[in-house]
Symmetry: C3
Subunit: 166 residues, 3 copies
């Protein structure tokens, strides 16, 4: 068997990244680790739940019932609306960090997500969150691989070389 | 040897879930993962520390010294008092999420905890937190398996197929 | 081969601890786990990024550009300035927890960090955070082993028996 074939048949190492936070720095870390792992030829799967789900949302309104609509307004917008976990100050902290990152030519969140997808990182959305928050699949970006539940997550975590949660 | 015996003698896979947060969504995720793992026949242990400890507390007052009593009031109540990490608004966010979850017939935190215990998930409380916050064992729910320290946690983490921290 | 030699040649188990938060309780947990793991003869590496980086900072001003200087003031001071994630109240929560911990003769953060270093836990700082926040290496404590990026982190996580993120 040639080296190339051996390489292809050998099982790739796996990483699972669990994202429950929508904070700027947590998303930044989650995507950075995903990209780093994919770049070192790992099979990387990201699971987005609760506040993390906005990172997969299109820039559209969500929610049908009163509470879901209220939450849809509070958590409006897409990945570009992610505030840092401290010093939010009505969007001032977000604006500041975006400027600082741009000044240093570091990639922003939308760019990191795009890069992760290009490198083959698979994005999964949490079915319970989508149901409770009334965010249907068509309001998420088209690149989402599938909508899954906790059973899927356990299976991935068992097979993973490492898991990170943010 | 029969298949059944083989099944019984084979060692079960293990998961450790570390809970330092008392936020509604983090507890929801922690218990959901615990339940999912237990349902797939894993041996699951949950360790509660700091803000997470309220998830194991009875609905009683705690604290003897001034500061511990103040904290006992601020962190009063039991698992049902868990606020979401965002939009707390003096309990409004908690009330809203409870309604949304109930409307979708999704289980609440107290129900998830009960289900986890029924499935054999073991709950452990952090000794240092209990000492510093002055929360004695009798103020925790009777189902708590033991009060343990960091040495115990390291041992569990080493043996686990995966660990999650919330 | 003697027992001692066998001990020395056997590979030590590894743990990686990822610290993105600067919250008092998260740092307390991170250092406690690091110390516990090192005490049980594991090879422990801690990686500090974003808000976590202050835990490695000397008590000095940082930042050259306007935004970085502003952040340097907001996030001023060193590990002793870590606020709890709840009930910060302009430093009141921090003061309260320090008192409570001292009253119970539990070690504070600076003491935990010192103990971790003495036990051989290695501390690493995130290169991207340092660049964006304009915190040069000389503003970090001398015990920092190296400044590293995400590639390093992936490698460590792959080799680790367990990883924790705070």
């Amino acid at each position: 068997m040639t080296d190339k074939l051996q390489e292809e048949t050998r099982e790739r190492r796996k990483a699972t990244i669990f994202v429950i936070s929508g904070d700027f720095e947590k998303l930044f870390a989650a995507f950075s680790i995903a990209i780093g792992a994919a770049a070192s030829n790992m099979d990387v799967k990201m699971f987005f739940t609760f506040w993390g789900l906005r990172a997969l949302k299109k820039n559209v309104r969500t929610g049908e019932s009163l509470f879901a609509r209220m939450l849809g307004i509070l958590e409006g917008g897409d990945i570009n609306k992610a505030n840092p976990g401290k010093y939010g100050f009505f969007g001032l902290g977000r604006w500041m960090f975006k400027k600082m990152i741009k000044n240093k030519k570091v990639a922003g969140l939308a760019e990191l997500r795009r890069l992760a997808i290009e490198l083959g990182v698979e994005m999964y959305s949490c079915d319970t969150t989508m149901e409770v928050m009334e965010i249907p699949k068509e309001k998420l970006i088209d690149e989402v691989a599938d909508t899954v539940g906790v059973g899927w997550l356990i299976e991935q975590a068992q097979q993973s070389d490492f898991t990170y949660s943010f």
